[in-house]
């Protein structure tokens, strides 16, 4: 077993200026060993730049990071041995087969032949590419290429797996498959995973803790539940009240746990703290005011709402612009 560290990643005041923009602005955070850590932010937030600094590809202007127990600036080679990185762009060799891609990679890490062959076989099985391992990657779909690339960086059994927007441009089915694969590997090898994404549901579903980054700064950090609980009115209660009067609406709004109210015909959306606990109180108040609640649903706020809360803008507006650029097999250069 490799030597483990309490903190898989420690980042201190790391800063990088690219051209005229400060891509990463004095960012500090820790990732605990074995944790699934997510970095959530819109396009241009600085996610790729941050990952590149943590994975020895870019030198920070100031500040630094300790990754897998080593200072990135001082021992880049040891760090490279201990981490596996799937960059945002597709980076597998189109002129090589899936197996060859993995085999060459294993050789770059100096893994002995027998161990390498066994490991590759096992990994290809897990990502469901065993049957197509001897085909050129040029013949793979985007989702297959991604799965191969994830398998490829695990040949040397890294302690920490970095994934830069691993599901960008993939259809929901491929995306679920990739989530499943990441989960499997993580459990089997008890890896720390550092993932960047701009998909809320991805961060919500996978991550133990999430940092929200915007314009190079971390603006919030915590477990998804924490983050959602931290914003006022973290639940939305939708009520159907026939013939709702302004009196009823006013009564609801006066309640201490209600933050906001939207009325549309019979439908009322109430932004409340602790929706489940307070729903009976709500129904009672409506009854007192002479109304009748025909139906009620409670909906938790999503990370999307968290993002809007902290930045005042929606993450999705910016996402749509680029997603069509990402096609299978098309060479992409992201943030370069």
């Amino acid at each position: 077993m490799k030597n483990r560290h309490d903190k898989a990643i420690e980042v201190l005041e790391i800063t990088k200026k690219l051209g005229r923009t400060i891509a990463v602005d004095a960012v500090s955070f820790d990732v605990i060993d074995g944790e699934f850590f997510g970095f959530l932010g819109p396009n241009g937030a600085g996610k790729t730049t941050l990952i590149r600094m943590l994975t020895t590809l870019l030198k920070p202007d100031s500040g630094g990071a300790i990754v897998a127990g080593c200072n990135v600036a001082k021992e880049p080679d040891t760090v490279r041995h201990r981490i596996g990185v799937v960059p945002q762009a597709m980076t597998s060799d189109l002129d090589l087969t899936g197996y060859e891609n993995m085999n060459i990679y294993g050789k770059f890490y100096g893994i002995p032949r027998k161990e390498r062959q066994e490991r590759i076989k096992q990994l290809l099985d897990t990502v469901g590419l065993a049957a197509r391992a001897d085909e050129l990657v040029a013949a793979y779909s985007g989702g297959m290429r991604r799965r191969l690339e994830i398998a490829r960086v695990l040949v040397h059994r890294p302690e920490i797996l970095f994934l830069d927007e691993p599901t960008i441009g993939l259809d929901p089915q491929s995306r679920h498959l990739i989530w499943e694969i990441i989960g499997k590997f993580r459990k089997r090898d008890s890896m720390t995973v550092f993932l960047t994404t701009h998909y809320m549901e991805e961060a919500d579903l996978l991550c133990d803790r999430v940092a929200i980054i915007d314009s190079g700064k971390v603006i919030a950090l915590g477990s998804p539940e924490d983050l959602k609980a931290r914003i006022p009115g973290n639940d939305i209660v939708s009520l159907t009240i026939p013939d709702i009067s302004s009196g009823i609406a006013g009564k609801i709004e006066d309640l201490p746990f209600v933050h906001k109210l939207d009325v549309q015909d019979n439908a009322v959306r109430v932004y409340v703290d602790s929706g489940a606990q307070n729903l009976p109180v709500l129904i009672e108040k409506v009854g007192e005011a002479g109304g009748k609640v025909m139906s009620a649903t409670i909906q938790e706020q999503s990370l999307e709402d968290v993002f809007i809360h902290y930045t005042g803008k929606s993450i999705r507006e910016e996402v749509k612009k680029v997603s069509f650029l990402v096609g299978a097999g098309v060479p992409q250069k992201w943030g370069r």
Binding site: M90, T91, S92, I104, F108, E149, P331, Q332
Partner: protein, 371 residues
């Protein structure tokens, strides 16, 4: 070591998957040899010349015999016998003939009387190269008239020239072979080695390799070694093919084979390292395209492959002194045509060695292992 070998393996595998590239790397220099060799050859051949002989005397007859001998031998011109001088001159004007030679009726008589015999040569002087060649050849057909009338004893105020071939005769076609081999090496070094780095950068896949524990020298030397293997094979193949095509005899001495291999390997290594130094930071193949034309002109033409270095103006001669291709051409010419051994080309080998070492170290030092 495993890592270095893996870099080489990856590169060779990728090269093998592109058969078109392999075919073109071999074909292009050969086509180049055939086209250059046949389009502007060293000596001109078969230029059409009209001859109008109006004299039936013995001297005109000898001139015609000499002309026929030239036609049969070096074949500078092809003779067309014409009776009418007007038709002949008209033929030159409209481009049917490159020249018209007219021997007047009193030519032999004037030779005998020593009253200044004259013949007329009408040349198409818009074509300087052919008219010069014809003037010389025709002049030589008349030369006997001068020597016949000088006394048998040698005249000391006259310089006699006799061609002495030090080496077995090398025709123009054959003399191009070293240049063609160098051209093949240039093309090979341009499209392997550092170019693969440029392509990886362009496709964005370099990132995944920079993330592995490969060292700077693993990357640089690995790509250079695979480039060396590929280019050497191509260069040797082209050397053999062009020797067969132009009829250069194969030597029986093992030393010649070793010398040729050393020169080819060192030149390849030197150029590969130079390309690495130049292209180390380039990320777009289009820049390589532009560079290739430029580098080819500044390295190939001043190399002595098509025109002798000795005839260059001073500044160009000075450049040839630091041009690796000039040393390579020189060494290959010496081995192929003069049966030179290793000792004879040690100067060229020495330069190529120093050049390679300087380029290789600077390319490893200046190579940046970051994005």
């Amino acid at each position: 070591m495993t890592k270095l070998l893996a870099v080489i393996e990856r590169d060779l595998k990728k090269f093998r998957r592109n058969p078109l590239v392999i075919a073109m790397s071999v074909l292009m220099p050969i086509v180049y040899l055939v086209i250059i060799g046949n389009s502007f050859q060293g000596k001109l051949k078969a230029l059409p010349m009209a001859v109008v002989n109006l004299d039936s005397g013995p001297y005109a007859k000898r001139v015609i015999e000499n002309l026929r001998a030239i036609e049969a031998g070096p074949d500078t011109f092809t003779i067309f016998n014409i009776n009418d001088r007007k038709v002949a001159v008209e033929g030159v004007k409209n481009g049917k003939y490159k020249a018209a030679l007219i021997i007047p009726p009193d030519f032999s008589k004037r030779v005998v009387l020593k009253s200044g015999p004259e013949a007329g040569l009408f040349l198409d002087n818009t074509d300087g190269i052919s008219s010069g060649a014809i003037r010389n050849s025709v002049g030589s057909a008349f030369r006997f008239l001068g020597t016949d009338y000088v006394s048998v004893r040698e005249r000391y105020d006259r310089v006699h020239m006799r061609e002495i071939n030090l080496y077995s005769k090398v025709d123009y076609y054959q003399s191009l072979v070293p240049g063609v081999v160098i051209m093949a090496i240039f093309l090979g070094t341009l499209t392997t080695g550092a170019f693969n780095l440029v392509m990886d950068r362009f496709l964005g896949i370099d990132e995944s390799y920079l993330l592995t524990p490969l060292s700077k020298s693993d990357i640089v030397s690995g790509l250079i070694i695979s480039g060396l293997l590929i280019t050497t094979v191509i260069a040797v193949l082209i050397l053999v093919l062009s020797m067969l095509i132009t009829g250069i005899p194969f030597s029986r001495g093992i030393e010649q084979y070793i010398s040729v291999l050393i020169v080819i390997n060192l030149t390849t290594l030197g150029l590969l390292s130079m390309m690495f130094l130049i292209m180390g930071r380039i990320n777009h193949p289009r820049i390589v395209g532009i560079l290739s034309g430029f580098l080819n002109v500044i390295l190939f033409f001043p190399s002595g492959a098509v025109y002798p270095v000795a005839s260059f103006p001073g500044w160009l001669k000075a450049f040839a002194k630091i041009n690796p291709e000039a040393y390579a051409v020189n060494a290959l010419k010496a081995v192929l045509f003069k049966r030179a051994g290793l000792a004879d080309i040690s100067g060229d080998i020495g330069f190529l060695l120093v050049f390679t070492l300087i380029m290789l170290t600077s390319s490893i030092v200046t190579f940046k292992r970051t994005l």
